[in-house]
């Protein structure tokens, strides 16, 4: 046998290595006793919640409020998880996802500010329901077409929604909607300008190089949703993201998840094996829409409390799809990673912000050449790749053995 390394492409190899590293982490975690697992999970959760307070050096954005960046990172991750259900699980290329994001945001805006003044937590479920119904209404006629046609129809949908809100006076037209209700503060009501309200206040860390110190000047009021501090919003959307992830996991590992996957792999065969494919495609579409609406609703009621048609350009749809593809379509952790990267990198490197689309395009091209499955593809994609590489290696070995 030859001792040389197998001549797989660089991308294939690094794909397998990164995947293996991830598997090692997952396996090491799974092999721990339950108590350690629970503690590890709790520690990870605390860390993720505390991230904007810890403000790790280098990682923190200097030029823009880090809490706000973390909020949009979580919002993008949530959107990517929702879109992953549609693209990654059911295999439906939805290029108009921003439309659902927009519907969720505008429902919240109209209900809490523009026409009525509902509290946010009452408007949120309505926004989710309205988006889901929108998803069904769009999906019912269009999910009968396949592949590229669906992409075109959804692309049109995203634009139609944006142009509609821009021209309908009842929705604020191009001026948008302002003063959207923030989530209700839990605890004491804020008394501007000095009392932030909330339950209690936590300080954040200040870093001098690598030496941390407590910054008691800037405290975050826990569960006080005001205009000054984005961190409570981050906590709220992070909680929503975690709940959605749990639901995603439960539904994926069931008959529903199998039906989605079978439909994605071979729609005709799935149908002939008794899967009502249309029903499941519609379900994926509506669920994805609802998660998009959820994220949009949080966005609308965020720190600025302002939305306008310009907040929902078609480009945003492309970024959402890119997040899923970059992360690894079909893997929820990949989707989160993709969403987080797409939102975080331009904020961290704002000096290059003017070039961000150019850089982004280049990065996508590089990725498409060397890692078409994304950064963190589903485990089975990696398994199939590894098996392929093994067969290649065997064939190569046989060939060389035959020649020698």
């Amino acid at each position: 046998m030859s001792t040389t390394t197998t001549p797989t492409s660089a991308g294939g190899t690094s794909l397998v290595t990164l995947g293996k590293r991830w598997d090692v982490i997952v396996e090491r975690y799974n092999s721990q006793p339950t108590i350690i697992k629970a503690l590890g999970l709790a520690a990870a959760l605390v860390f993720v919640y505390a991230l904007p307070l810890i403000r790790p050096p280098f990682f923190t954005t200097d030029q823009i409020d880090f809490g706000g960046v973390m909020f949009s990172v979580a919002a993008f991750a949530l959107v990517a998880v929702g879109l992953n259900v549609v693209i990654g699980y059911a295999g439906l290329l939805d290029l108009g996802y921003v439309g659902f994001y927009c519907v969720g945001a505008y429902t919240t805006g109209v209900l809490t500010s523009y026409h009525w003044s509902w509290p946010f937590f009452l408007a949120l479920p309505v926004a989710i329901a309205v988006t889901m119904v929108t998803g069904v209404l769009l999906g019912a006629p269009t999910l009968r077409v396949r592949g590229d046609y669906l992409a075109i129809v959804t692309l049109g949908f995203g634009e139609i929604i944006r142009i509609c809100v821009k021209n309908i006076e009842w929705l604020g037209a191009s001026a948008g909607i302002k003063d959207i209700a923030h989530p209700n503060t839990i605890g004491a009501a804020p008394q501007p300008p000095f009392d932030k309200g909330g339950l209690f206040e936590v300080p954040r860390l200040e870093w001098d190089g690598l030496i941390p110190s407590l910054d008691t000047q800037h405290k975050t009021a826990v569960l006080a949703f005001g205009a000054a501090d984005a961190i409570p919003y981050y906590w709220l959307i992070l909680t929503a993201l975690i709940l959605v992830l749990i639901g995603d996991r439960l539904v994926k590992a069931s008959r529903v998840g199998r039906a989605w996957e079978a439909t994605r792999e071979d729609e005709d065969a799935a149908e002939l094996m008794g899967v009502p494919t249309f029903k499941y495609k519609l379900m994926a579409f509506a669920l994805g829409a609802a998660i998009g609406g959820l994220s949009g609703s949080f966005y609308a009621s965020g720190q600025s409390g302002y939305i306008s048609p310009d907040s929902f350009p078609l480009l945003l749809s492309m970024l959402f799809v890119a997040a899923v593809i970059v992360g690894g379509s079909g893997n929820r952790w990949g989707a989160i990673a993709g969403g987080a990267l797409v939102a975080y990198l331009p904020e961290r490197f704002r000096d290059f912000a003017d070039y961000r689309l150019l850089i982004f395009g280049l990065a996508l091209t590089v990725l498409a050449v060397w890692r078409p499955e994304g950064l963190l593809p589903p485990r089975r994609t990696r398994r199939a790749k590894a098996a392929e590489a093994e067969i290649d290696a065997l064939e190569e070995g046989e060939l060389e053995g035959g020649l020698a």
């Binding site: 199998r258 996957e261 002939l272």
Partner: protein, 261 residues
């Protein structure tokens, strides 16, 4: 003639694609518990016939009745639920899913578990999941690939992929199992094992419709044979009758074959 009752009746079915008549007034039936062979030269209409039964095509005229129910205008997944399952001539597995998951998709055909059962892990979800996993493993045991249940379907050998196709179809709990050229690409040894498998499947209580090119396989395993040529039925009978039927020899085996034998 009194035999077991007809499970599937193809009654005077005609299919036209534009000017082409793919099936012309074809009538035959499949009886419960038998292995029926459907043979004919290339382009005789075997697969078309198959597609009518499984709802892929709609008959231009005539009826297909299954268990007394008319299949015309029924959705494809509903036909599967009624009890007709099939395999594909060109293998169409769910490649990125594991062997077990492929079979579970079939087993899900009668599952009533929905989104909320799964989201809240209701008892029905747990029960159904356990039952279909057990059933899927049992079927994999029958077709002989139980040991490989955790492999990805795409990583199986060609022969095992064909077996998996049969397993997946069996898992839908069919009364009638339709195999579309299951021996395509097999060597003689594999064909022998396939014949055993088909008999075993029948002994498990399935009725089998077999479309096949290989005459030895068909003659060796079927109870009755229907012969199609140019969309018409030219013969029907037990294998020995078919073997000696001059019309079949002329049409299907060809004159050269007759000279050679």
């Amino acid at each position: 003639m009194t035999g077991p009752k007809a499970l599937l009746e193809v009654d005077n079915v005609t299919i036209r694609f534009g000017g082409l008549t793919a099936l012309d007034s074809v009538t035959f039936d499949i009886r419960e518990g038998e292995i029926l062979g459907l043979i004919g030269p290339n382009g005789a209409g075997k697969t078309t016939c198959f597609n009518v039964m499984t709802g892929v095509y709609q008959a231009t005229s005539g009826q297909v009745r299954f268990d007394g129910k008319v299949l015309t205008r029924l959705k494809r997944h509903k036909i599967t639920k009624l009890g007709i399952a099939r395999t594909f001539q060109n293998i169409r597995l769910f490649k990125s899913m594991t062997v077990l998951e492929n079979v579970m998709v079939g087993a899900d055909a009668h599952s009533k578990v929905g989104f909320f059962d799964a989201l809240f892990r209701l008892p029905r979800h747990r029960r159904t999941e356990a039952a279909s996993t057990a059933r899927a493993k049992e079927i994999l045991e029958i077709v002989g690939i139980r040991a490989r249940h955790d492999e990805l379907a795409s990583n199986l050998s060609y022969g095992d992929q064909r077996r998996l196709e049969i397993a997946r179809a069996m898992a839908t709990g069919p009364k009638l199992l339709c195999l579309d050229e299951p021996a395509a690409g097999f060597n003689p040894a594999e064909k022998l094992r396939l014949m055993e498998l088909i008999r075993r499947v029948r002994d498990e209580g399935y009725t089998v419709l077999l479309i096949e090119h290989d005459m030895r396989l068909v003659m060796g395993v079927t109870d009755r044979i229907v012969v199609l040529e140019f969309g018409r039925k030219i013969a029907e009978g037990v294998p020995s009758e078919i073997r000696d039927n001059p019309a079949v020899i002329a049409a299907y085996l060809g004159v050269d074959e007759e000279d050679a034998s």
